[in-house]
């Protein structure tokens, strides 16, 4: 589904990704761990097409399409979802308005009919309920005044509504309390654990991986994947830290 080959990327002229290779097949969940500043968020933003993140080498194929040639909104319509490490606050735009426009833009882009207000609200309500989020919060401006955990929960509600093929979730677990972590973990499984979908989970902690069991765990360090393994690698890292990898 996603094939990253020898990817090089710069942020503001500074090389961050230095030859990253990774393949994700449908039905798989991959976790990426790695020290602060390793380039994990840079990888997520680069795949999302964020301005200022310049690809200087390599290729990315997403379901047979050249991902790097697509605009950010086209990547979304093609089925890519980016869960932000720091979700953005948008005063004056309600979650409902934002998500309906997002979903219908994607549907139009794919040649599908847009959802009516009523149809959309039904979908939104179901997803908000599943994440334990009050509908009233969905009527408020996007992330404005939301706590750190509420913002992350909101990312998952959005993922549920948009129903992507590939989700790249950047530290969706950070800032969540113990109960929210379980709700979010179950949400990821419910929405994404199907044979035709895939997830790339960026995380620092084993906890989320107790709920969302990864098929593969990779260590990203200094802009490259330096080690890959099964879910036991996460446990090993938790025990030994990243220092041992350098050896």
């Amino acid at each position: 589904m996603l094939k990253i080959e020898n990817l090089h990327a710069e942020v503001d002229g500074k090389p961050i990704l230095k030859g990253l290779t990774l393949a994700i097949n449908p039905g798989e969940i991959h976790a990426i761990m790695g020290p602060n500043g390793a380039g994990k968020s840079t990888l997520a933003y680069t795949l999302g097409g964020r301005p200022g993140y310049d690809v200087t080498g390599g290729s990315v194929d997403f379901a047979g399409q050249d991902l790097l040639e697509m605009e950010p909104h086209e990547r979304a319509a093609a089925g890519l979802f980016l869960g932000f490490q720091y979700p953005v606050e948008i005063p004056g735009v309600s979650n409902v308005q934002f998500l309906r426009e997002a979903l219908n833009s994607q549907r139009r882009n794919r040649g599908e009919a847009p959802l009516s207000g009523g149809e959309f609200l039904k979908v939104a309500r179901a997803q908000a309920d599943a994440m334990g989020m009050d509908m009233d919060m969905l009527k408020r401006p996007v992330n404005v005044g939301f706590s750190g955990g509420e913002k992350k929960r909101n990312e998952m509600v959005q993922m549920g509504i948009i129903d992507p093929r590939l989700a790249i979730l950047d530290e969706t677990d950070s800032g969540l309390d113990i109960d929210a972590l379980r709700v979010v973990g179950e949400g990821i499984n419910r929405i994404m654990r199907t044979p035709d979908k895939a997830v790339l989970l960026i995380t620092h902690y084993q906890r989320l991986l107790d709920y969302v069991q990864p098929d593969f765990v990779h260590v990203l360090s200094a802009g490259r994947i330096v080690r890959s393994g099964g879910k036991e690698l996460a446990l090993e890292l938790e025990r030994e830290g990243y220092g041992a990898l350098a050896a």
Partner: protein, 368 residues
């Protein structure tokens, strides 16, 4: 046409460009396609008036209590003083109200047209007026407003002219506990100057003037408001939002004067500009002149661009860039238009602003 136009050397006109005005004024009339003014009525159940090039069009009007004739209004304002002679007057007796909001549609077909208007509300009277400006040419208006104690007036003005220039001059006396709210939307392609002198002469009077100027191409729009608190306990609000795209210029000058005796004045000004392109210009000039010591005056003035993080966030969820910009710009102007009291009017104005944001251009008539 011979008019002594103000020069940019005068402080109150330094952001104006009136150099094209004479040429616009000298252009012939009738240079606009058939435009159906009734399509711009909102069916609010009140009096309806149509003026074509400043001349009352009885056939398409239902003026009810609004009268047409010489208007008791004089000014030394350099543009406003050209608008004398026959015009419209709304005069309401004590405790009276119109059957519904007064709707006035001004259609210009080229050249210059000048028209005075007068609104005089006796004690406790209430009125709402919605004015729409369409067509091309120079449209010049002087509006005199007199509010007796506890009278209330809501004015909503939308500028949708396709070309040319619209100049509005408002002069108001606001009596004790009376209230005047004027909200302006500039969503056409013409230049504009919205100019007002509002005097809160009675105790506990309330005045609000604000709105949204949307500018693109080489368009220039500006508002210049002087709001004077002359008595105690008054309150005033000015919420303006200016959006400039391309090479356009939007300017806001809002001044609050608090006279010596006007204690307990509560004034608030919020001027915000949004640059959609680096080549555009927004000028903001908030001014306070306070001669009383016990007053509360808050003001804020900021110019910025759309938040890049927010734009990427929206796009990452599938919203195309132009739509993402429109969504954020709509949010930016929303609080200025929210001040319009009647829901139907507010919705119509928001729709006009949306049409501008969606790049559909103006509905105010195309030139032939």
């Amino acid at each position: 046409m011979n008019l002594a136009l103000p020069s940019v050397r005068q402080e109150a006109w330094r952001w104006s460009d009136l150099s094209g005005l004479e040429a616009i004024a000298d252009a012939p009339r009738g240079a606009v396609e058939a435009l159906d003014p009734s399509a711009f009525f909102l069916d609010l159940g009140g009096p309806r008036l149509v003026f074509i090039d400043g001349v009352f069009d009885a056939a398409s009007s239902d003026p009810q209590g609004v009268t047409i004739g010489p208007v008791d209004a004089a000014t030394d304002h350099p543009l406003g003083r050209a608008a004398t002679g026959t015009g419209w007057t709304l005069s309401l007796g004590t405790d009276h109200a119109t059957s519904g909001p007064v709707e006035i549609v001004h259609v210009a077909t080229g050249g210059a047209n000048h028209l005075p208007g007068r609104i005089a509300l006796a004690a406790d009277a209430q009125a709402s007026i919605v004015e729409t400006f369409l067509g091309i040419g120079w449209t010049n208006r002087l509006t005199h407003i007199d509010l007796a104690p506890a009278a209330r007036l809501m004015r909503s003005v939308r500028l949708l002219q396709r070309e040319g220039f619209v100049s509005l001059r408002d002069e108001a006396e606001i009596g004790q506990a009376a209230s005047l709210v004027t909200i302006v939307l500039g969503a056409g392609e013409a230049g504009s100057r919205i100019d007002a002198a509002l005097n809160l002469s009675g105790e506990s009077a309330f005045a609000e003037m604000g709105g949204t100027l949307l500018c693109r191409g080489d368009q220039r729009q500006e508002a210049a408001v002087v709001l004077r608190h002359a008595a105690e306990n008054g309150a005033s609000r000015q919420t303006w939002r200016a959006v400039a795209a391309d090479r356009a210029t939007a300017s806001l000058a809002a001044r609050v004067e608090v006279a010596r005796g006007a204690q307990k004045t509560d004034g608030e000004q919020s001027l915000r500009g949004l640059l959609l392109k680096r080549t555009a210009t927004v000028n903001l000039k908030p001014e306070l002149e306070i001669f009383a010591d016990d007053v509360k005056c808050a003001h804020g003035a900021t110019v910025g661009e759309l938040d890049r993080n927010a734009l990427f966030y929206l796009q990452s969820r599938g919203i195309p860039p132009a739509q993402a910009e429109a969504l954020l710009t709509r949010a930016f102007v929303a609080d200025a238009l929210d001040r319009i009291g009647e829901e139907k009017v507010r919705e119509a104005f928001v729709k006009d602003a949306d049409a501008w944001l969606d790049g559909e251009g103006v509905s105010g008539g195309s030139a032939t």
